[in-house]
Each structure stands twice: as structure tokens, then as C-alpha cells.
Amino acid sequence: MADRLNLHLSFNGGRIELDLDPRTTLLDALREHTLLTGTKKGCDQGQCGACTVHVDGLRVLSCLTLAAQVESREVTTIEGLTQPDGTLHAVQAAFVEFDAFQCGYCTPGQIMSAVACIREGHTGSDEDIREYMSGNLCRCGAYPHIVTAVRTAAARLQGSKV
């Protein structure tokens, strides 16, 4: 039994080669092995959404994904959302503008989920936003501001008047 797999991974457009225990989740590959700690571990069992990242553009839970499964796939994390010059993505900016967080621990997962939610076309109404963001828990209770931030960012990205 191989206790290490040699994996060629792609995080935020950057290629990285890691020798990992096959049991290593994508979440721990990010947090423990590449120090991309922006993605958070809230439950490690797929129940809170704090670990949400994009794999080939789709939002998924990195805690229930093995690192081995994302070889040859593009992984985008919260760190990859900000421009190299520090410019925030419209969703990140909206979260700051509308105070859509308190402790900040659910926030990267919320933002990654929201970016995908907008791309999926699931922000047509506040009910839609609440339903399609339901996979992201927030114990500080920032939900109302999160809905406002997502709605506003969606409108801006889609070029509508806010």
C-alpha cells in the first residue's frame, strides 16, 4: 500500500507538486500543506460549507474531496479571487460594504459559494438567494447582510442598476 501519492495539483492557477497521504482531503492539502489557510475547516464532515472552494468552476466542499480527486482539475480558493494587485472581487467588496460577516470564519466559504451562486443564475430573488446559499452556515447570524451583499454583487456583475 502506497503511503504517499505524488500529486500534481493546480491551486489558483499555480501548479504545485505534493507528496500526500492518500487520505489527505483537499481541505487539508490547502490548509496544512500549502498554507492556503483562507479555506476554513468548520466541521470536516460536509455539514457547514466553510470549506467551499471551486473545482473546475463548480462550488464543492473541500472537506469531502480527496486531494487525489482534483489532480488535472482547476481548484480556486478565496485567495484566488482577489486580483494580484489586491483589488477585491465584486462579491468580496460587497461583503465588506454591507457588513456581511462578523467573526469572518464562514466568510471565505460564503463568498466562494456566492460567486458560484451568481454564475449559476440563482440570485433572482431573495428567496432564491437564501435557498441556494443554504449550504453555508453562519453562527454569527450575518444572513440578512449576506443576502444583501449577494443580491447587490449579482446586480453589479450583471450590469444592472442596484
Partner: protein, 661 residues
């Protein structure tokens, strides 16, 4: 006085005022319930100063994933520890087989009560320390609750430690456990300090014309912050640094120092970002003791994170409670008697108080009161603090009972409360500092159109759903602890505020920047706040809703002192371009000190420092009373002895609110 606050107010008049308020609110105006006037909200230039909307100072870091929480650090040589917990609620461990676990790949060490970790007891806060539980893990073979730590497995990687922990085999000799507070073997212990008693409440209840009585129970409630408890313990010679998710680095340092048998000065606790606490991160919990002790033995940094499941038994949340509450009143709704008996479960050998009597004795005027509280030890993890411990459950029972009394009296619930207005603290018999509860009732009634409400239960529906419409009052005491803060002004113009206080999403980073910015007249975003490190100026607990008050006070004092010091050196130091000017003629404007009467740009803080040949300007201040000793200052940051009660000073200080649903 406006009729709104007349206790004998007729319902019709109250509703008329409420209707007027509602109409005004919809027009986007502000309604003054005292005068009945409506006025437009004032628009201002927004600088993010105190009283204005401001974005959070830490927002940029949080939304870009750059804020580092407790275990988000890599330290060379770091190992991973995973806790193993008991699976029976009471008894003894008869055997722990660690053979398979020890042989698992990557395992470095396994600690149990047979291979124990050196952990000294830490003083619980109810005995003058800062710990929230008396349990020290791995010190004996006794199992006190289901989910108690009984081993720590350390390995090279998280995956290896997790699997090895799974291979540990434990045998127990179980003894009968007490799980249910209703168990006949469970023994209630009355807590006399929590009693409130005046008059003869049982007799007055018996003779009251109208009575309601109910039993109110609440289940366990867990804090469940999004960030599970986790820490890194890092020894460097005999100095220990702990990266710990903490609401109070000073208290954490106190507890950790006791556990490890160190002077506090040898312990540093770092917690700049906390992923939620809600009361469960005010003190480090026993897994931190295991992490620190194991790291010391191994001579390696050690990361120990609780699994989400483990967070439900590694420390406690709000305990299960029960209350029997009876109210007696006249037919006009004047309270004659309150008889209240409550209890909370606690650990079988530890004490947590969740006082059901907190609010009963405060909220309403009554000539007769008997409120008592007990604890009932059962085999559970010691409960802990969670969002208004005591007030939460006390208000629930009392306000529900008042609601039921209102129905029985056929009286408006707000009116019932107004009729039993407590003009001063009924328990301490001293004046309130302020009590704008009647304004809160009126504002809520106005905003929610209370006049539309049909008071008959089950009378309102929307489609297939019954609609309820109610209100309740709430209160929370004002706790105060003196604190310290430091402001640093740099030659390059940077302004910093430094404090060991924590921000767990509460906004400390931002309000301290706003406070300093307002006094120094600089944009809020130009003030950088550093928090959550015992190397920074000492600060009290972020708990009991007091930190904002404590720290803004200290920062305000430091900023005022900085102002006067800047003026002093600006006018007195020969190297200063403003040398010789009269202090009273100088103003602070947008980061510069300038003459108020004459034209000219004045000088920026940085340029002033440069002219004086200084790199930086440090000002420390605090809110301690004159004569406070170094021991007092130390105590304020590391324990509760300096914390003032709501009644300190002969006035009773609480916040008051009304909740409309």
C-alpha cells in the same frame, strides 16, 4: 409627562400613539415617542467616525482569506494531536490498549492516565481564578461524563493521528450514571447567594385574586462557533506561546500558566482572530492543557484541534434548566407576588451557575418576592457560558408568565408591564442609572403597528398559517472592568492602537479605530488597531458585553492624552515649528495640528515628530481609579477581581430592551 408613560393609560390612547408612530416610520422619518414629533434624519459627511457607518477594519483581511485564526500557522517540526474521549458517562477505565495505536504509522506518543501528562489544577473563576472548569485530563482513571478526554494521540500528520486515535481500545467498569436532573438520585443544591426574598410571597400568592403558574424548561444549548476549538502550543526554552482561539488572552494566560506551573510572564497567548465564541472561548478548555503539556514533553510544537463532534463534550454550553414560576396579581393587574424556583444541571463534581433568578428580581415592582435557584449535579461535562447566562432563561420564564397573566387579566401585555413599572432596582433598592424600557415599548409598538394586533390567542391567520404577535422585555447587566490601551504615532504618519483585547466578530478592531480617530480627527481608516496578544497592553475579558465599553474608555483616555501631549510638545519644544504658540489657539483637523485663528496648513503628526527628531510617540492610558496598584492592573487583565458589579457605586446599571415578534 407625555401620556404614553402614564401607568393608568387606557389601551385606546396607547394604540392611537402607536398608529401615529407607524405612519411616521413608513415615511422614513424618526419619531420621537416623548414629544410625538417627526423629524428627518440628519445627513452628514461620512468619515466612518463614531456614530457613522464604518466598514470593518479587518474586513479586507477576512474577505480575502488573509486573517489568520488560531491553528493557521506552520511552525517547523510541528506535530498533530488528537483527543480520545470516553464513551460511557460514569465509572472507571479498567484498561487502555494502545498497542495497535502505537504501532500505527507516524505515531510519536500516546498519553493516557497510565502515561499521564503533567497538568496542575487551575483555579476556577468562582474561586477567584479564570478557569471555567476544574477538570484536568489524564490525571486519574475516573470517568465523569460521556465524552471526557481520556487520551491524546500524537503523530506526524493529522491523518495518522486521527486513525491511531481510532485504534485505541478502552475498557470500562461502568457505574450507574445520573443523566436526568429528574432522577431520584440527583441531589439539588440550593445556592443561597442567588436568592431574592422580600415580603411573604407564598402567602400573598395564595390570597391573590388572579394567579398564573407554569413550569418552564430549556434544553441544553451549544455555542457552536464556526471555528472549532483548536490550538498550537510552542515551547521555546521555558517560554510557552499558545495560539489559541480566545475571547480573553489574559485569562487564557492565567489558566495556562497554572496548568503548566509557570509564572504568567513565561506564557504568551496569541489570538488576533477568533472564529466566534459566544461565551465558550473565555477560558482555555482542557484539551489546551493536554496540548501544552505534551508539547513540553515532546520538545516539539503541537497542534491539537477538536473535531466538531468533540466540541459538544470537551466543554459545556448552556445547561439544561427548569423553573417553576407563579405570579399573583390584583384584578387590575398589579403584581402582588412572585414565587420562583429554578435549577440548572451541572457536572457531577463541578459547579456552573445559570441563575434563573437574575431577571425575576429586577424587572417588575412587586411587594412580595421569593426567587430561589439550585444546581443539580449529573454526569455531564461542566456547562459553560453562553449568551447571557442566567438572564436568557430567567427572562424566558418571567416574560412568558407575564404574557399568560395578561391573557388571564384580559389586559394588553404592554399595559400590564407599564402598570408594574419598577421605578428603581427592587432588589438592591437603589436608583437605576437609566431605564428607557418604556421608550422601547413605545418604539416597538409604533414600528410594528401594535394597534393592529388582535389580542385573542389564535385569532390571526394568513392562509393556512396561524400568526402570533407578541412582545417581551429583556435586560442585561452592565459589567465594568478597568482597562489599558496604548496609542503609537509614527514618524511616517501611521497611527496605531494597541490592546490585548479580542475581536470575535464583535467589531473591536473598528470601534477602537473610530474612537481614536474621532479624538485625533483623522480618518478612521488611517488608524491601525492591533489586538489579541498578551504582549500588547493588558485588557479584560471579552465577555459579559463589557469589552466595548472598557476598551473604548481606555482608548479614549489614551487619545485625549495623546492630543494634549502633542499640543504640549508642539508648543514647548524649541525644535517644533509651532513652538511658542498658545495651546488654546491650536486645533486638530484631519491629521494636522493647525492654528485656529490664522491661515496656514499647520503640521502633520508625522512631520512634527520628524522636526522633533523622534521616531514615534507612545501614549498609554487606562481607566483605573487613582491609586490603583500594579497588582490591581494585573488582576484586571487576568481575573475577575476588579470587575465591578452593575450595582457598584450605589446605582443599578443595566441595558433594557423590548422584543416584538
Amino acid at each position: 409627562m407625555n401620556d404614553v408613560f402614564n401607568p393608568k393609560l387606557q389601551r385606546r390612547t396607547l394604540l392611537k400613539t402607536a398608529a401615529a408612530g407607524s405612519a411616521v416610520a413608513y415615511a422614513g422619518l424618526a419619531f420621537n415617542p416623548l414629544t410625538g414629533e417627526a423629524a428627518p434624519l440628519v445627513a452628514k459627511d461620512l468619515n466612518g467616525s463614531v456614530g457613522e457607518p464604518a466598514v470593518r477594519q479587518d474586513g479586507g483581511l477576512k474577505v480575502s482569506g488573509q486573517a489568520r485564526y488560531a491553528i493557521e500557522h506552520a511552525i517547523e517540526g510541528m506535530l498533530y494531536g488528537v483527543a480520545v474521549q470516553s464513551t460511557i458517562p460514569a465509572g472507571r477505565i479498567t484498561a487502555i490498549d494502545t498497542q495497535a495505536a502505537s504501532n500505527a504509522p507516524g505515531v510519536v506518543a500516546i498519553y493516557t492516565h497510565l502515561n499521564p501528562l503533567a497538568i496542575n489544577p487551575a483555579t476556577p473563576f468562582i474561586k477567584g481564578g479564570a478557569a471555567t472548569e476544574n477538570f484536568t485530563p489524564l490525571q486519574d482513571d475516573v470517568v465523569r461524563w460521556n465524552g471526557q478526554h481520556i487520551a491524546l494521540v500524537v503523530a506526524q500528520t493529522f491523518e495518522q493521528a486521527t486513525e491511531a486515535a481510532n485504534l485505541v481500545k478502552v475498557s470500562y467498569a461502568a457505574t450507574p450514571a445520573i443523566i436526568d436532573p429528574d432522577d431520584s438520585r440527583a441531589k439539588a443544591q440550593p445556592i443561597d447567594d442567588l436568592q431574592a426574598r422580600w415580603g411573604d410571597a407564598p402567602a400573598a400568592l395564595a390570597s391573590a385574586a388572579v394567579r398564573v403558574e407554569g413550569v418552564y424548561t430549556t434544553p441544553r444549548e451549544y455555542n457552536v462557533p464556526m471555528e472549532p476549538h483548536a490550538c498550537i502550543a510552542h515551547w521555546q526554552n521555558e517560554k510557552l506561546t499558545v495560539y489559541e482561539s480566545s475571547q480573553w488572552v489574559g485569562g487564557a494566560r492565567n489558566v495556562i500558566a497554572q496548568w503548566m506551573g509557570l509564572e504568567m510572564g513565561s506564557v504568551r497567548v496569541v489570538s488576533p482572530f477568533v472564529g466566534g465564541g459566544f461565551g465558550c472561548k473565555v477560558a482555555p478548555h482542557p484539551h489546551v492543557a493536554m496540548a501544552c503539556s505534551a508539547a513540553r514533553l515532546l520538545g516539539r510544537p503541537l497542534k491539537v484541534a477538536l473535531t466538531r463532534a468533540q466540541t459538544f463534550t470537551s466543554y459545556g454550553g448552556r445547561p439544561r434548566t427548569g423553573q417553576r414560576l407563579a405570579l399573583g396579581a390584583t384584578r387590575e393587574g398589579m403584581l402582588l407576588s412572585v414565587v420562583h424556583d429554578g435549577w440548572n444541571e451541572t457536572a457531577i463534581d463541578d459547579t456552573h451557575l445559570e441563575p434563573s433568578t437574575s431577571v425575576t428580581a429586577l424587572m417588575y415592582a412587586t411587594p412580595n418576592m421569593l426567587a430561589r435557584h439550585s444546581i443539580i449535579p449529573v454526569n455531564t461535562v461542566n456547562p459553560g457560558w453562553m449568551r447571557a447566562p442566567g438572564e436568557n432563561i430567567s427572562t424566558y420564564a418571567l416574560e412568558t408568565a407575564m404574557d399568560e397573566l395578561a391573557v388571564k387579566l384580559d389586559l394588553d401585555p404592554i399595559e400590564l408591564r407599564l402598570r408594574n413599572w419598577a421605578a428603581q432596582d427592587p432588589k438592591a433598592n437603589i436608583p437605576w442609572t437609566s431605564r428607557r424600557l418604556r421608550e422601547a415599548y413605545a418604539a416597538g409598538a409604533n414600528a410594528f403597528g401594535w394597534s393592529e394586533r388582535n389580542p385573542k390567542p389564535r385569532s390571526m391567520r394568513q392562509g393556512r398559517e396561524l400568526i402570533g404577535w407578541g412582545m417581551a422585555a429583556g435586560t442585561y447587566p452592565v459589567w465594568r472592568t478597568p482597562g489599558e490601551a496604548k496609542i503609537v504615532i509614527h514618524r511616517d504618519g501611521r497611527i496605531e492602537v494597541l490592546s490585548a483585547g479580542t475581536d470575535l466578530g464583535t467589531g473591536t478592531y473598528t470601534i477602537l479605530a473610530q474612537t481614536a480617530a474621532e479624538v485625533l480627527d483623522v480618518p478612521t481608516r488611517s488608524v491601525k488597531v492591533s489586538l489579541g496578544d498578551t504582549d500588547l497592553p493588558r485588557a479584560p475579558i471579552a465577555g459579559g458585553s463589557q469589552l466595548a465599553n472598557n476598551l473604548t474608555g481606555a482608548v479614549y483616555a489614551a487619545a485625549k492624552l495623546a492630543r494634549s501631549e502633542l499640543i504640549r510638545v508642539a508648543t514647548r519644544d524649541p525644535k517644533s515649528p509651532l513652538h511658542g504658540m498658545v495651546a488654546a489657539n491650536l486645533v486638530f483637523k484631519n491629521g494636522r495640528i493647525k492654528p485656529s485663528q490664522r491661515p496656514g496648513e499647520g503640521i502633520s503628526f508625522g512631520d512634527l515628530l520628524a522636526a522633533l527628531g523622534k521616531e514615534r510617540f507612545e501614549i498609554s492610558a487606562d481607566t483605573f481609579k487613582a491609586g490603583a496598584t500594579e497588582a490591581d492592573r494585573h488582576a484586571a487583565a487576568h481575573g475577575f477581581s476588579q470587575m465591578q458589579l452593575p450595582t457598584t457605586g450605589g446605582v443599578s446599571a443595566h441595558s433594557w430592551g423590548a422584543h416584538f415578534v
